[in-house]
Amino acid sequence: MNLFEYQARGLLGRYGLPIPPGDVATRPEEARQIAEGLSKGPFVVKAQILAGGRGKGHFRSGFAGGVHLCSYPAEVEEVARAMLGGVLVTAQTGPEGRPVNKVLVAEAPQISRELYLAILIDRGRRRSVVVGSAQGGVDIEEVARESPGEIHRIWVDPQVGFWPYQARTLAACMGLCGSLLPQTADLIVRLYRFFCECDASLAEINPLAVIENEKIAVIDAKIGLDENALFRHPEVATYRNEVVEDGREAEALKAGLNYVGLSGEIGCMVNGAGLAMATMDILHRYGGEPANFLDVGGGADQNQVTKAFGILMADPKVRAIFVHIFGGIMRCDVIARGIVEAVTHTKPKVPIVVRLQGTNFEEGKAILHQSGLPIRTADDLADAAQKAVAAAAETR
């Protein structure tokens, strides 16, 4: 679960990381008030979306940039007005962009140096790794490619923990000395404590900056939390409701389904993430484009199948529905009954292609055929995918 910048600031602030003062606004007047309450300008106004590249992005309205520097509170209000309610398109959002419902208003200190700091899980080494670089505020992937020596890593043995001396070593590698060295080491230790205590999957500070009077400060932070660990963090689990930008995803979340909206026209419903990806892959091979990724999981019941249908059909892009179930624990006859019920109730206007395989698949197919509903079935995967692509083409 990725957090908005303003949420990340709130969490890191609790751990005592130095962050320029500011707050989040949902109305332009509020943005101005926040700026008026800050001790000094200039101010920065940042559109709150869950995607990077905001600075170089543009709004559908034509307004350029999701990050603006302002000298006066009145200017803050003006910029906030241009952003709020708009849709921001960046290199990472895709052409559909993301709606901007909140802006962050904060003090914009004078920056003399930009650094990079992150903590994440290294899957290969099976432990967390603290990453630092003197090259911050830029595309860190490029730094990693072009000058790998500029990226410094400390892997943390979970049994030993991360000690301040390691933080000082990293800070020194990041080119810090004098009073900035212990300051930054303290910041890294706090970030690591946050990472562990909150079960983060990613904590990235870019840039980490040296500002006026040789102080270190968090200028932008990207935080991902481990969804599997939310059960032990009720205080951050509430962020969940705020971070879902896509309405369909919110619906799916409520139904306990794993859904990611995409831009194609074939609505997919599959059990298992690997099979769901393979299904998308094969649709592609035959010239189709999935409208979504939807994994109903290994133990989905009739009720979830019905809800999944509802979500697929509510998507105006969808021109055909492809149900692909390999029955293991999940019996195909149960799935077939769920499909029949869902189709009977919701009377979809697009063709439906179903492939059932595995446990009780014969019985499942029989139920579909006996229902008399306009459901197309297929036995093998290639056949099913071709039928789904053809069905979507029909209704175009």
């Binding site: 899980i121 990693a144 999957s201 990235e204 993430a273 393979a278 290994g298 995918a385």
Partner: protein, 294 residues
């Protein structure tokens, strides 16, 4: 012959009185697996279906039944503890089905297992099966048949599809191992491939990978330096969107290794044929086996 499990494997089911635990314990028993004990703290002394004795701890279960493998259905919040409990009793093989275990729990678990000989499969996996002998997991047993192909997979239902395609063509499996989809898990692709390589009953290997991580590349490194059996691979997620990842930190550690393209390139380098359509898995295995014979 097979890897990891066979008809002598004696299994304890941790969390046997839960809904999933009792359901799958029965399914494994029906398949012929020797489920010799169950564990649910506080339920010691009871029995499942009047046949499987239940204990308060793995230690007691092991002492009473000599179990050497564990199948875990304990809920996510207690699963790491259950794994360490089994490891503390020196259970040889732990298969953890539980999904949703926090990653940092698994980081600690893996670190603890470094000092032990216990092997872990999963979590968030379908388990392991040696057709006709022993099923420790949640896969539908009837789709499998004994034979020469060793399957190792990061996926669940996609593996069933692959097994189905093989069995439809009359190609059986030596063992099938679903290693699980979580970022930090037990046995890796490479380790299972090495086991199949050493197993005389395995004549060909099917690898089912997916986007993310770099386990496929690790396996490729192994092939580069060792003689090997006929092998085919399918990699899911070629068309998955690059994800909603926000930071760049992941790429700093693994670079582009997580993409299907990078994985295909690594396999190509060592001459492993990558299957392009998930509908052609059975056919591809037939081909590599036929090529090896000729």
């Amino acid at each position: 012959m097979s890897i990891l499990v066979d008809d002598s494997t004696r299994v304890v089911v941790q969390g046997i009185t839960g809904r999933a635990g009792s359901f799958h314990a029965r399914a494994c028993l029906d398949y012929g697996t020797r489920i010799v004990a169950g564990v649910t703290p506080g339920r010691g002394g009871q029995k499942l279906d009047e046949r499987v004795p239940i204990f308060d701890s793995v230690a007691e279960a092991k002492q009473a039944t000599g179990c050497n493998a564990s199948l875990i259905f304990v809920p996510a919040s207690g699963a790491a503890d259950a794994i360490l409990e089994a490891a503390a009793s020196d259970i040889d093989l732990i298969v953890c089905i539980t999904e949703g275990i926090p990653t940092l729990d698994m980081v600690r678990v893996r670190r603890c297992l470094e000092d032990k000989k216990t092997r872990l499969i999963g979590p968030n996996c379908p388990g392991v099966i040696t057709p006709g002998q022993c099923k420790i997991g949640i896969m539908p047993g009837y789709i499998h048949q004994p034979g020469p192909v060793g399957i190792v997979s990061r996926s669940g239902t996609l593996t069933y599809e692959a097994v189905w395609q093989l069995s439809q063509r009359g190609i059986g499996q030596s063992s099938c191992v679903g290693i699980g989809g979580d970022p930090v898990h037990g046995l890796g692709l490479q380790e299972v491939v090495e086991m199949f390589d050493r197993d005389p009953a395995t004549k060909a290997i099917l690898v089912i990978g997916e986007i993310g991580g770099c386990e496929e590349q690790d396996a490729a490194t192994f092939w580069k330096t060792s003689s090997r059996k006929p092998t085919a691979a399918f990699l899911a997620g070629a068309t998955a969107p690059a994800g909603r990842r926000m930071g760049h930190a992941g790429a700093v550690i693994t670079g582009a290794a997580g993409t299907v393209e990078a994985k295909i390139a690594a396999f190509d380098k060592v001459g492993i044929s990558v299957i392009l359509s998930p509908a052609e898995i059975g056919e591809a295995i037939s081909k590599v086996m036929a090529a090896a014979v000729s």
